[in-house]
């Protein structure tokens, strides 16, 4: 994928936010739904609760959640990475959330031990935990900036997933996160999010 030049006049300030453990906990119903048990059927399977709680507890011990974020004046960004639906914004927040490499190792260890049920639930939990982290951070930003767009990630609509590579490697320069040419990131539980603000 060809590299792009960014006309950035000012120095980018990358900040880090470390979510509290409680910000990483998702609702059990959502987790089970992600694990393919429909809401309407979940009450029949509450006997799995003990196993699932054990996995959640271990997962919580195996995450290193972080958010890297920056706010960019739209004037300083080449419009190629801004979705069309963000038309009219003045400020763009880009944040990268991750559960860290430790979570990948935890999952890999479960695979190695052939604990597939635990792997499946932990993976589902990881996805929902990351989404919860994103939601909580989104809310913090909205409390601050008020009027904004929806939260958006590369790979949807008009922004290709490969934009992740530009964000991680060229704007944020985060060594902890590797991006493949396909745009997929490692650690596997990592996301890139944009929110635009009408200011």
């Amino acid at each position: 994928m060809e590299s792009r030049e960014f006309i950035i006049n000012k120095k980018i300030m990358i900040k880090t936010y470390i979510p509290d453990l409680k910000e990483c906990i998702c609702d059990k119903k959502i987790l089970l739904s992600r694990a393919k048990i429909p809401f309407s059927k979940q009450s029949q399977f509450l006997y799995m609760n003990q196993k699932i709680n054990k996995i959640i507890s271990e997962s919580l011990n195996n995450i290193d959640p972080k958010i890297f974020y920056t706010n960019l004046d739209v004037k300083d960004i080449e419009i190629d990475i801004i979705p069309k639906s963000f038309n009219g914004i003045g400020l763009l927040t880009i944040f990268i959330s991750t559960l860290g490499d430790i979570f990948d190792r935890y999952i890999d260890n479960l695979i190695f031990k052939e604990e597939y049920f635990e792997m499946f639930i932990a993976d589902s939990w990881g996805s929902e935990s990351l989404e919860k982290i994103n939601k909580n951070f989104d809310k913090k930003l909205r409390d601050k900036y008020k009027n904004g767009t929806i939260r958006f990630s590369p790979g949807y609509k008009d922004i290709d997933i490969t934009v992740n590579k530009i964000i991680i490697n060229e704007i944020f320069k985060i060594k902890e996160i590797k991006v493949y040419d396909s745009g997929i990131m490692k650690p596997r539980k990592s996301t890139v999010c944009f929110i635009g603000w009408f200011i």
Binding site: D20, A35, I37, N49, Q50, L60, Y116, F117, Y180, I184
Partner: protein
């Protein structure tokens, strides 16, 4: 705080209660047995702990008064300090709480067993609770919590005492149970809950004995039956001595996770017991947060109970009639003379004859006194009787019976007149129970239309007095046939009651009083009545024909109990889906006494896994169950392989699995691997982000029968096509099955590969491929 305010608050959000006291003081080195003494000797220690709970943001702080009752204090010669200990406790808690938390008076059990299990008489027990509660209520606690009761009668006594002091104090009633949901004195969670639904308490709950994970199944049972808000206070698990310190296993995070579960499944108040300290409570409040309670529907089913036995009214309740001293002076003398052996035998016999409940009638009540009634109740309780129907006319004697009855009886009966009804309703509200109402005001033999009016009048009175119609059992009255009684009228009334979904009852033997061919007449009428929807009967349970008619009618009309969820028709299926390794081993070992491993796999395991696949395909179970079943199946296969000397070759074929280049998603692939292995395939998982060249290399090495490729992303799915074409160009014709979130049948057809949307489809395809031979062309 008034009750109404408390109830409103419970509807608005989940409330948090504090944690342990005893174990926390123990950690600080306070080893004396009576921690309530600290309220006098070291109030600062108490306040310091309570301050920590307040800082953790609890809504309800408890007074340090769990054992500060007369009976327990007497053991330490401290009964004269009862007022000081309880008052000080209140002051300390109020200081700590300020305006940040409510202060509830904590009252625990007396530590002694009530009659008949122990020696403690009702009056002494009542007085003990009355004394302590009065001090706390007059000190102006915001509410009272009854904690850790293990005897249902003692709890009932405490509730009576508290309500005799104040009708307006918020009241939480909690018992403690074993893992099986039975208290140490034999009462089940269901007996407790159904009685508490009747009694004048605001919240029903469980605390102590069990950790969060152990208490969770009981919580689910409680919420099914509780009409009222629910409280839950688990303890921290079994304590251990680690490094010389008493340690409880449950970590704050584990406790908080379960607290979330309680919150999401309908709890209204959550706190902790032994081993749960301020750190746990803080974490719990952090995780659960401010939230509205989850509304839950409870099963509005009616039960009668004794201390140890509970029977549903539905589909039908059989009440044994034999312990009836009316017109039986001999029987009455047994009551009066405390000669209970014969009465207990009679009770036992009726139980063997499949009675659900026993009617007790003392005969002419002017010959009976309160002591006789009390003794009867105690004896039947002591001998683990079936639930009782208290056939007592005198309202005072009835109250004595109810006072000493431990659980939920039938009160038999009231006339349909307002004053009589209201007297009985007062007793129902105070002591619990169901009420039989005779559909008569002045005349016994009213016509159908009049009886309908009476029924509706009764329902209106019950509504005015806040008694649900489900607690009323209507008796349309059977009279002897030879008294010109129109039995068809009674049948019409029974049908009317059934159509209105009201309970009904008849005393069957009345019909054939002083008539020959009793059994035949009774049986014939009963059959007709059952057909009209009769819901209970007082009957001679030794009459086989009568009992058979009941069972036959129930079977004929399919009036059997409702079951939901999965029907585990086969024990191995249940073991697989529930993921129970221990049970799996036990099952296998049992079967291997008759079968060899191959036979076991063919006759049991394969069939059970097929059934798992069927249930999954039909949406009865879901992906996590499929995965865990596969894990257990694999576990069984490994166990079987280790059990014999020769190599157990059960491989159906070899499969290579890989996630394609630039794709690191492998969860789905790993699940498929587990399912394939559990179904007898030899799986070689070569990992993720695998190039086509590496795949080719592995094909040469392993010589698989099938290749499985996974791609999660649209940006990587094209590598499946690349890999297929690359292998084809190298003359590899092994069938390729593709899967993953971005794959579908159309794309697979375009690429020239096969497609499986899930593990079950993958199994089917693999089996077909192996059956047809491993040439791709021959499969196509």
């Amino acid at each position: 705080m008034k009750r109404k305010e408390f109830i409103n608050l419970l509807n608005e959000r989940i409330l948090f209660i504090d944690g342990a006291y005893g174990t926390e003081f123990l950690k600080k080195g306070y080893k004396d047995k009576l921690i309530e003494l600290l309220n006098i000797t070291n109030p600062d220690i108490v306040e310091s702990l309570q301050q920590q709970y307040v800082n953790a943001k609890v809504d309800i702080l408890l007074t340090n008064t769990f054992s500060a009752n007369l009976i327990k204090l007497k053991n330490y010669n401290l009964e004269t300090e009862i007022e000081r200990i309880n008052l000080n406790a209140y002051k300390i808690a109020r200081n700590a709480a300020g305006d940040k938390a409510f202060v509830f008076g904590d009252i625990g059990p007396t530590g002694s067993l009530m009659e008949p299990l122990g020696e403690l008489p009702f009056d002494e027990c009542y007085n003990c609770f009355y004394t302590q509660a009065k001090i706390l209520i007059e000190a102006k606690v915001d509410g009272i919590i009854l904690e850790t009761f293990s005897e249902i009668k003692e709890l009932k006594t405490a509730i009576l005492a508290i309500r005799d002091i104040s009708l307006d104090i918020p009241l939480i009633a909690q018992m403690t149970f074993t893992k099986e949901g039975i208290s140490t004195t034999g009462s089940s969670l269901e007996i407790f809950t159904t009685l508490m639904n009747d009694l004048d308490v605001d919240v029903i709950g469980i605390n102590c004995t069990l950790s969060s994970e152990e208490i969770f199944p009981l919580f689910l049972r409680l919420k099914k039956l509780s009409k009222k808000p629910i409280s839950i206070e688990p303890n921290g698990g079994n304590p251990e001595i680690i490094g010389g310190k008493l340690t409880y296993k449950t970590t704050p995070v584990e406790f908080a996770l379960y607290a979330k579960d309680f919150a999401e499944n309908g709890a209204n108040i959550i706190g902790g017991c032994c081993g749960i300290g301020p750190t746990h409570i803080k974490k719990m409040i952090d995780f659960v947060g401010m939230r509205k309670p989850t509304k839950i529907d409870y099963e509005n089913r009616q039960y009668v109970s004794s201390r140890t036995i509970i029977k549903p009214l539905d589909p039908f309740l059989i009440i044994g009639e034999k312990i009836n001293a009316s017109a039986n002076k001999k029987l009455q003398r047994l009551f009066i003379n405390n000669e209970f052996d014969s009465l207990i035998s009679l009770a036992s016999k009726q139980k063997d004859e499949k009675a659900d409940c026993l009617d007790i009638n003392f005969g002419k009540e002017d010959k009976i006194n309160e002591q006789v009634v009390k003794n009867t109740m105690l004896i039947f309780d002591k001998y683990n009787s079936l639930p009782l129907s208290l056939d007592i006319i005198d309202i005072n004697l009835l109250e004595v019976a109810l006072k000493h009855y431990p659980a939920r009886p039938i009160i038999n009966s009231s006339l349909a007149k307002k004053d009589d009804l209201e007297k009985h309703i007062t007793l129902m509200k105070r002591y619990g129970g169901l009420l039989v109402v005779l559909i008569m005001e002045k005349e016994v033999n009213e016509d159908y239309q009049k009886k309908k009016k009476i029924v509706n009048k009764v329902l209106k009175i019950c509504e005015e007095n806040k008694i649900g119609e489900e607690r009323i059992i209507f008796d349309p009255i059977l009279l002897p046939l030879n008294s010109c009684f129109d039995y068809k009228n009674t049948l019409k009334v029974i049908e009317y009651l059934s159509n209105k979904k009201l309970y009904s009852i008849i005393g069957l033997s009345n019909l054939s009083y002083k008539i020959d061919e009793k059994e035949k007449i009774n049986a014939a009428f009963l059959s007709l009545a059952l057909d009209k929807g009769l819901s209970s009967v007082i009957v001679d349970t030794s009459s086989k024909i009568t009992m058979d008619i009941i069972q036959g009618n129930l079977l004929l009309n399919n009036r059997s109990s409702f079951r939901d969820g999965i029907d585990f028709e086969n024990p191995l299926l249940e073991i697989l889906i529930k993921g129970d390794k221990d049970a799996a081993l036990a099952f296998v070992d049992e079967k291997l006494k008759e079968l060899n491993p191959i036979e076991f796999i063919e006759n049991h395991l394969s069939k059970a896994m097929e059934k798992v696949g069927y249930l999954f395909s039909n949406g009865k179970i879901f992906l996590p169950h499929l995965i865990i079943s596969s894990e257990i199946a694999q576990f069984i296969l490994e166990y079987l392989k280790n059990k014999i000397d020769d190599k157990l070759d059960i491989s159906k074929g070899k499969i290579i699995l890989a996630t394609v280049k630039d794709d690191i998603h492998d969860i789905g692939k790993n699940i498929i691997a587990a399912i394939l292995k559990s179904n007898g395939f030899e799986v070689y998982d070569i990992g993720k982000n695998v190039s086509k060249e590496e795949i080719l290399q592995k094909v040469y090495e392993i010589k698989p029968d099938i290749i499985g490729l996974s791609a999660m992303m649209t940006s990587t799915v094209s590598y499946i096509k690349d890999t297929f074409e690359f292998l084809k160009s190298n003359n590899i014709k092994i069938p390729i099955i593709a899967g993953g979130a971005s794959m579908n049948k159309n794309l697979a057809d375009q690429y020239g590969v096969l497609y499986a949307k899930d593990g079950i489809e993958a199994i089917k395809l693999c089996n077909e491929i192996i059956k047809k031979g491993n040439s791709y062309e021959s499969y196509k």
